[in-house]
């Protein structure tokens, strides 16, 4: 009897210890080990990696720059833009990428402000997504210009033409907002990276050592340096959140300020923001699933608990998106504006109705049916599939809002079709390849996991006994 009790107690203790070690913050390793793992993940490349880099590089050259070059040489007639649909896949993909870029700020800034500890291992992966998502998205205003060589007319500076940009135009607000967000996100990516660049500096030689040495700004880890960098990160964390909200609100105003049927809605600002965060957080999940499966030692840093936490967030944002969608839909349907009623009927019954229903299935039904289940949330590959479908749904949402709405406006004589041309498809696909290419290359140039943040979190987490249970206790070390 005593022996049985001992075996049961041992099994219970083992299970308890295993459960705790499942959590990254309760499974600390020596810093030297963490550094070595992160450096190995960064420096290890396989033939498959190089094949992907080369293929993506070629695709970027052909799909993006080749097609864009052809468009510049031949003219905008190579696209499907024609009356009444003057905005097609370029603007759709632009809004999509700006939306994706919201994830980094959400994960890195908002979760940091709310001290959500689970964010620690993947803030940098998310911030990288923001930077490259913005880089991909910011190409589209240039591509869409047609005469890209006169883009500098957007820049406010004294000139011989005596012309200044129209600062009352949402397009100019876009220019300012996106540039602000791009610069801020890049700096916000760089600041917490400095201590890890110093670690990489100390562990590399040759050209890498030289570059890390310059970028590390002489970092040693003194109290003054840590205080300075923490102050700067805190300023950024608080300040970049309103910038994030303003960017996608301003993008939504590209549509909402106009009198186009289906666009002139006051709910567009928050509707776009929630959609952006939904697609952004979904994209973070996609990236984490791939990183965990393909990069060395990433399964230590990125665990099922992270997919669980992000899955809950995706579910919440999916429900929030559904709320805003229904808000917009109901008031359009209820309002009695004939043109608006025709547009929403066109969505549900026209030739693109399959896209509308697929959008609702991907954005609302699938998350609602699956993400309440912890087993599904903690499966990286199921989460990858679900979040991919969400992003497909979100792309369809923007497609429905932009070209489909434009094709069915007030005057029936002005209704038109759009027939996508190869250029309409190649350039957006090219930006996807550019995003993946930049991400792949950068994943081997900088440490993808903020080791100092992970270790800081592990230091702050302890187990303590409360009653008969061992519970996690988090200290405030800052």
């Amino acid at each position: 009897m005593a022996a049985e009790t001992r075996v049961l107690n041992h099994a219970a203790a083992e299970k308890s210890e295993e459960d705790h070690r499942e959590h990254l913050m309760l499974d600390p390793r020596p810093r030297e080990t963490l550094n070595r793992w992160v450096m190995e993940a960064m420096l290890t490349t396989t033939p498959r990696y190089w094949i992907m880099v080369i293929v993506l590089g070629l695709l970027v050259a052909v799909l993006l720059f080749g097609a864009w070059g052809n468009q510049i040489a031949v003219g905008m007639g190579v696209t499907s833009k024609t009356r009444p649909v003057f905005w097609v896949t370029y603007i759709t993909t632009f809004v999509f990428w700006i939306g994706i870029s919201h994830a980094g700020t959400f994960v890195s800034a908002i979760l940091r402000v709310f001290k959500a500890e689970f964010r620690r291992p993947f803030t940098r992966a998310a911030e990288l997504m923001t930077t490259f998502g913005l880089a991909a998205g910011a190409l589209f205003p240039l591509i869409h210009l047609g005469r890209v060589w006169i883009f500098y007319w957007l820049v406010p500076y004294p000139n011989a033409r005596w012309l200044w940009p129209n600062l009352r135009s949402p397009v100019l607000w876009d220019f300012l907002a996106i540039n602000t967000y791009l610069l801020s996100s890049t700096i916000y990516l760089y600041l917490p990276l400095i201590p890890d660049l110093a670690m990489a500096r100390d562990r590399t030689t040759g050209i890498r050592h030289f570059i890390y040495k310059i970028l590390a700004l002489g970092w040693r880890g003194t109290e003054a340096e840590w205080h300075r960098i923490r102050t700067a990160i805190n300023i950024f964390a608080f300040a970049i959140i309103p910038v994030m909200f303003s960017v996608h609100t301003i993008v939504s105003w590209d549509f909402a300020v106009s009198m186009v049927v289906g666009w002139h809605s006051t709910i567009f600002g928050p509707y776009f923001i929630i959609g952006a965060i939904l697609s952004g957080v979904s994209a973070v999940v996609m990236i984490l699933a791939v990183l965990r499966a393909t990069m060395k030692h990433m399964d230590y840093f990125i665990r099922k608990e992270h997919f669980d936490a992000l899955g809950k967030l995706v579910l919440i944002f999916s429900l929030a998106w559904a709320y805003f969608f229904y808000n917009d839909f109901l008031l359009s349907w209820y309002g009695g504006d004939e043109a608006l009623k025709r547009v929403i009927t066109f969505h549900a019954e026209g030739p693109m109705a399959w896209m509308w229903y697929l959008m609702l299935v991907c954005n609302i039904l699938i998350p609602a049916v699956t993400l309440w289940n912890k087993k599904i949330r903690t499966s990286p590959w199921l989460m990858f599939i679900i979040t991919t479908l969400i992003n497909v749904g979100m792309y369809f949402e923007r497609f429905l809002i932009i070209p489909v709405n434009l094709s069915h406006q007030r005057s029936p004589f002005d209704w038109g079709e759009f027939n996508l041309t190869p250029t309409d498809i190649m350039i957006p696909l090219g930006t996807l390849c550019l995003f993946l290419f930049l991400y792949l290359v950068m994943s081997r140039l900088i440490p993808l996991v903020p080791v100092w943040e992970v270790q800081e979190g592990q230091m702050a987490h302890t187990l303590r006994k409360v009653g008969k249970a061992e519970v996690t206790s988090v200290s405030e070390l800052e």
Partner: protein, 177 residues
């Protein structure tokens, strides 16, 4: 007068208590706070180590940048339309509701860029504390860098070794390992 000597003691990463105790004992030996610096791979707050509060000019630089950004925005938004007035879309030349967008964006841009400039400027500005570093610090060691008179050397070494400091280096100038 004995010349100061720079010491670098490395404590294992799980011995923060020993490092904090070492600082207290160095104070008792007459080593001042301005001559002590803690170097670590993760940030420890001043309270944990019993250190004086650090301060930085970054917030002041950030606010200044925000003000400059705001002024530039006001100049651009309310000044440039008057240089070459073009009435667009029946809207007045100067509109207050739309000015908030431009002013907000450029104010935030000023705030964030100047925060970075503040970090960069403070990073490259020379500091006057003891200079030293060991690459073991990025591998988790807690470094206690201090300068003390050379006649205290033996007592300091004994103190640090008793508290578990693994290696104690010394140099008359910069200590870079």
């Amino acid at each position: 007068m004995t010349l100061p000597v720079i010491h670098l003691a490395l404590f294992p990463e799980d011995q923060i208590d020993s490092a904090a105790e070492a600082i207290s004992r160095l104070h008792k030996l007459g080593v001042e706070d301005k001559d002590i610096s803690v170097i670590s791979g993760i940030p420890y707050s001043d309270k944990i180590l019993g250190r004086p509060m650090s301060w930085s000019r970054v917030p002041v630089i950030a606010i200044s940048g925000a003000i400059v950004g705001c002024l530039i925005a006001i100049l651009l938004y309310y000044g440039t339309p008057l240089l070459y007035p073009i009435t667009v879309g029946g809207m007045p030349l100067l509109t207050n509701p739309t000015s908030f967008v431009v002013i907000f964006e450029l104010t935030m841009l000023g705030l964030l860029i100047s925060t970075f400039i503040g970090v960069f400027v403070e990073a490259i500005t020379p500091s006057f504390g003891p200079k030293g570093y060991s690459s073991e610090i990025t591998d988790g060691k807690i470094g206690l860098l201090f300068s003390s008179p050379s006649d205290l050397e033996e007592r300091v070494h004994t103190l640090l070794s008793d508290l578990g400091a693994e290696v104690v280096h010394r140099s008359e100038e910069k200590l870079w390992i």
